[in-house]
Symmetry: C2
Subunit: 128 residues, 2 copies
Amino acid sequence: MKLKSHSPLDPDRMAERLKVLAEPKRLRILNLLMEGVQCNCELGDALDMAPNLISHHLSMLRQAGLVEVTRDAVDARWIYYSINRATLQDLNAVFGAFFDPARIQPRRPACGPQGALVRVTDISMTAT
Amino acid sequence: MKLKSHSPLDPDRMAERLKVLAEPKRLRILNLLMEGVQCNCELGDALDMAPNLISHHLSMLRQAGLVEVTRDAVDARWIYYSINRATLQDLNAVFGAFFDPARIQPRRPACGPQGALVRVTDISMTAT
DNA sequence: GATATACTTCAACCGTCGTTGAACTACTTC
DNA sequence: GAAGTAGTTCAACGACGGTTGAAGTATATC
């Protein structure tokens, strides 16, 4: 039994992680945070998005552990966001392991005539 | 202007790529294909999914360039699927570049009092 | 040609999720 | 304490996409 169900390489967990990232505006926010931008208002200006929408996406990134929250000690109304480097490293490692080309095994069919193969360019059956 | 809109690291393109992967059953299919399984029927048996559903997910993976199609030369009813190693390598490289922890820049706020920071554990304002 | 097989395409259903505007909370300043 | 600011939460809308069953296509066998 290849410990699979609770491994970080489990497809369900992997998909869960990827769903958070598979969103253009969240990626833009991550991009800006990596560049050092940090408050909600500046993110909103840079991305032309409403503050509540920024807030929503940030909360998802926070739930995923990708983003951390910090308050300003001088004026606590300001909240700063930053990338969680450890989570990012972990994500990178897990992704690299899952989609590692070295994992690709040679063809091992268990059904069909298993004869020679013919490359198909168009699946929609061009042959008339 | 940092060539951004058409770079492989463009958030929109990145999200597009990730959307295809952010799906548990597609990841399971990819997993099996990497292990060498190749025909629709065996995928269906292994994943307990209807053939048309397998077909649908495979077509998305194919559109993303991740999966290639091959017909059996002996009995052309059988269609075999395999991972496109080049696309997988490219994906891995692009992902690694986008989510590279080394990209994280130091804090560079353009608004707020920019005072000292206080770590916040719970955003829901625990202070009463 | 008729039947069977392997797979795809189509149409429809339905839950999920990004988006929006309004209300709410936390904090500071006057 | 009243007003203002930074940000969050709530409720509702609407579109995208995974799922399903039925119909369709390509190929092989009888």
